[in-house]
Symmetry: C2
Subunit: 200 residues, 2 copies
């Protein structure tokens, strides 16, 4: 029959599936995997560390951001996808953000599609020999797709008043490298100063 | 600085970008690449070939389906994305569909997110030693994400009365293998018989 994959073990095939994602509400029906990151995991990330400690103490370590996924094998050939939901708020004057990460397989990209809310995808290159990185903030809002190219670390930042929700897709083998960002940080931070966004 | 990609040539980095995709209308602003497939490219695909010839003659070879993309390198590490828009209609009683394809790198997957319209993603495995394929039809409608796993050929079918529009994402190295489907076809077709969907 001229099959182009004659050696394929058909018993090992993954079955197709569908999942309901409400594009207006930014919700996934019946996720297999729900990951919750509370404010306390962000120790060391914000400029004003005391403000973060007050937030953790006063609000009982509230949910900071979450991801919702269906099960997909984390290996080459597959595409992992899910929804990320980042709460609104500030730590001091710095807008709520995710930890941010490179991919473990650094040369892999990621796509984000904004479904709800208002914010940015903050991206940076690995430092060069002088320790300098390029840094770019792309608006991440409803109806905006952001392309994170291979090698760029990325972090979402919520500058709005409601949760920032996006659909993400990345290659199954990509993996997450949080450690280098924990050490390096990003060259820019995003603040809300007297109601106005400031990137510096 | 502990960079995990010390050998990376920073001059060769692709820059991040964003693109506006209206999730309600199913449109992309300022695509770099617009591919149009007219009815005549579907010769040999529908069961009723005379009905297709009449459609081509009577309607002047109308647009059958289109894709809209932003430029992304078609190589490993990147993710190609775009919108596909398939017109509504029937050829005889068979619903309008795309040619369908395997990926050239067969073990790569694809994600479709339905934005508008009503239809199916029809998927099949490569034929086994007896020439038999598994075949699955997953509903492709607004608010439904369909996961096309590695190795599955896939074709979209419009069973509704308006264009079927979906956002797709696939690995940059995947490529398109149309030839095997041109030869093999799919084990199932989708018809509209007296207003009712029939898959057989």
């Amino acid at each position: 029959m001229g099959s182009h994959v004659p050696q394929l073990d058909l018993m090992r095939l993954v079955q197709p599936f569908g999942v309901t994602i409400d594009l207006a509400e930014g919700t996934m029906r019946s996720p297999d995997k729900h990951q919750v990151r509370r404010a306390s995991v962000m120790r060391g990330y914000y400029a004003d560390q005391e403000a973060l400690e007050r937030l953790i103490a006063e609000r009982g370590d509230p949910v900071h951001y979450e991801t919702f996924e269906k099960h997909v094998p984390e290996e080459y050939g597959h595409l992992v996808f899910g929804l990320t939901q980042l709460q609104p708020g500030v730590v001091g004057e710095e807008c709520f953000m995710t930890k941010g990460h490179y991919h473990t397989v650094a040369g892999t990209s990621e796509i984000y599609v904004g479904l709800r809310g208002q914010g940015y995808m903050l991206m940076k290159t690995p430092p060069d020999a002088q320790g300098r990185s390029q840094c770019v903030a792309e608006p991440l809002v409803r109806n905006r797709l952001v392309y994170v190219p291979p090698y760029w670390a990325h972090r979402s930042v919520n500058t709005g008043d409601e949760p920032l929700v996006a659909l993400y897709v990345y290659p199954g083998e990509a993996g997450h490298n949080y450690g280098d960002i924990e050490t390096e940080g990003f060259p820019k931070r995003i603040f809300k100063v007297q109601g106005r966004e400031v990137i510096r």
